[in-house]
Symmetry: C2
């Protein structure tokens, strides 16, 4: 018989998807070049040619039975070893291939990491603003997602609120840095302080608290900076990654969980994720794509366009008079709306063919997100539209 | 904190995987050509060149941003339309693209189909012998798997036992035809009778009972025969498919659920599966592979080797004196062991470097499975070893 719970979820469409669909439909009316569509976080630059070359080489010269054969249920050993080696080299870790669990993108990684270290009824804490899909991801595990209010000063962590939210039911803390939607890059100081609090609470509560670190934007950091590696700061860290952004492969669903070798039961966690897969129908990501990415671990797509776009938008928004924290990375910016009701604000912007996402679904009222993974030329053309909108609707000069 | 339930599952290794790993290790000692490894159902023939060509063409001439971009959450429309059209043409159905939900292989398809039509606590019935992974698949949904004993006469359905097993808690019935491990192909008469019983019980119980039909071996049918299409016989059918076997792409994790347009709430079921995905981290299968298979829907790998191997083995086993039902399809054969304890039998066979899988994990005692997706030359060489084993251990002449 049809499952009524899932049927009831049918109403709950993603605001972002809805706006993106509106933008596409509106584009058919007035030409998509005239719709300033800042809705969707879909990378706008091509995958690096090294990836294309690696895949064509696999298809043309590989043994099809081998490249399309079943992956072992914990991933292809050579791929796992290559990922471990790359992380060790970049971040001074000491992973082996056995600590790496390849997954179908970051969604798959988070699904496994959460199930491995929580049980139904447990609490997982995350920090606003947060990616709205965290809610269904956590719901699917049977755990409960608790939200710590935002540090709107600079979108690092509101530690006072975090300390107040912690309690013995919290088995995992979920962070996302560089952050969607704020563009914030958690600093070493933030990670240090977070780790210190978690260590103290582990002792106080007498159980492990895992840090689940969602890092698909790791390589998109501006001003020549780098994202400090969270697992470096805290032993019980499960690092969740996807090549969606760094290699511009969002549709290929390829990522991993990396279990810190210093974590409690580090050697059991990857085999446990293999067991979790059996119950969710996940299995491994495609063999050929595991092999393909393992050949280009040092590569990224040309990510410079995101920094160019960020600077254009940040300068324009600031000069128009928006209150906005300068993003340290990602391809998002998260300014304060010009009225308290972010949804009303974004509806009015829509009338000016500016497609902005209200902040409510990110767990913060009164802001909006712009995903500037679009052509720089369009960003430039959108600036007069932003000025006109702010002037005509809100009297900003 | 680490999840104790998944930790406890770590003991539960698949017998098949364990045997396969033994065969690999033994092969390192005596040469793999001397190990008659019938353990693993991993297709032995290459993917058709049409698939390779389609993928190389996509990589070389496609727009990387488009081919690697996010798939809509219910699948790529052109791919869904192509699959629907192909099924309609072959089986006289009237699917639209909206009835097709692309998944990461049959495991992903079953995970979604089961969740869509059962809730935790419900009962799902399947028939012995059955694929052992059905147990964790069903456990993962919270439903309960009930097993109907085998019809050992011809491995169709034991209808008497089925009728006795049905009860108002049964919300779904799971079939697998052509069948792993028996090689049986359910006949039109079997499907007709099954459908009749389900319709009667739906009326009696006052609720839908869905038929979940797992069909990855659909195209491997011998003697020029065809698998009757189960959805043709019963409206409430969810067809689960994978191209693992037909295109020899097991590692690429690509398949679908097809919802019979005549099913209850047919138009809701695919969108519901989209919601289910959000909770399991499944998301869509890789965009490029969705696009690739959609170009070769009329193709298969050269599957003829499986029929050649089946005939060689069936004749040899029969002439040695095994009690065996001739497979109608797949690349499995399921003879009766030469003693009641199938595990003891297979352990003795292992001493003769014959790697056979005992039937206990398939829900039938006293049989063994041979997966003959191996070179014909090796099948031929294994026959004297089978004869010698049966003679030396069981005195069969």
């Amino acid at each position: 018989m049809i499952n009524e719970d899932y049927k009831a979820m049918l109403g709950g469409k993603s605001v972002i998807r809805e706006l993106s669909e509106y933008a596409t439909a509106r584009g058919k009316e007035i030409g998509y070049e005239n719709v300033f569509d800042y809705s969707l976080g879909n990378p706008s630059v091509p995958a690096p040619s090294a990836f294309t070359d690696a895949m064509v080489d696999l298809y043309e010269h590989g043994d099809p039975v081998a490249i399309h054969g079943y992956s072992p249920s914990l991933g292809i050993p050579s791929v796992k070893d290559a990922i471990a080696g790359n992380l060790n080299e970049r971040f001074g870790m000491d992973y082996t291939g056995n600590h790496i669990f390849p997954t179908t993108g970051a969604a798959g990684a988070l699904a496994h990491a959460m199930r491995a270290v929580t049980k139904p009824g447990d609490e997982i804490i995350t920090f606003a603003p947060y990616f709205p899909e965290y809610q269904p991801y956590v719901n699917g595990t049977g755990a409960h997602l608790a939200i710590v209010p935002a540090d709107t000063e600079n979108f690092q962590i509101n530690f006072e609120a975090f300390e107040a939210a912690l309690n013995p039911n919290v088995m995992a803390v979920l962070i996302n840095t560089p952050n969607n939607p704020s563009g914030a890059v958690y600093s070493a100081a933030t990670l240090e302080r977070l780790a210190g609090i978690l260590r103290a609470r582990q002792t106080e509560y007498g159980h492990d608290i895992f840090l689940i670190s969602d890092e698909p934007y790791r390589e998109i950091v501006f001003d020549g900076g780098e994202q400090a590696y969270p697992a470096k700061y805290y032993n019980n860290t499960l690092t969740c990654y996807s090549w969606s952004k760094s290699l511009s492969l969002p549709g290929e669903r390829i990522g991993y969980v990396a279990v810190n070798p210093a974590a409690t039961d580090a050697d059991l966690l990857v085999p446990m994720m293999g067991q979790i897969s059996r119950g969710t129908g996940h299995n491994c990501p495609p063999s050929s794509i595991q092999l393909g990415v393992s050949k280009v671990l040092g590569e990224t797509a040309d990510l410079s366009v995101y920094e160019t776009n960020m600077n254009l938008l940040y300068d324009a928004l600031t000069s128009i008079g928006f209150d906005v924290v300068r993003p340290g990375g990602t391809f998002y910016i998260f300014p304060k709306a010009l009225e308290d009701d972010a949804t009303a604000f974004c509806l009015k912007a829509k009338e000016h063919d500016l497609i902005l996402v209200p902040s409510d679904s990110f767990g913060v009222p009164g802001y909006f997100r712009m995903a500037y993974c679009i052509d720089t030329e369009k960003v430039k053309r959108s600036i007069p539209a932003l000025e006109k909108f702010a002037h005509e609707v809100y009297g900003v000069n």
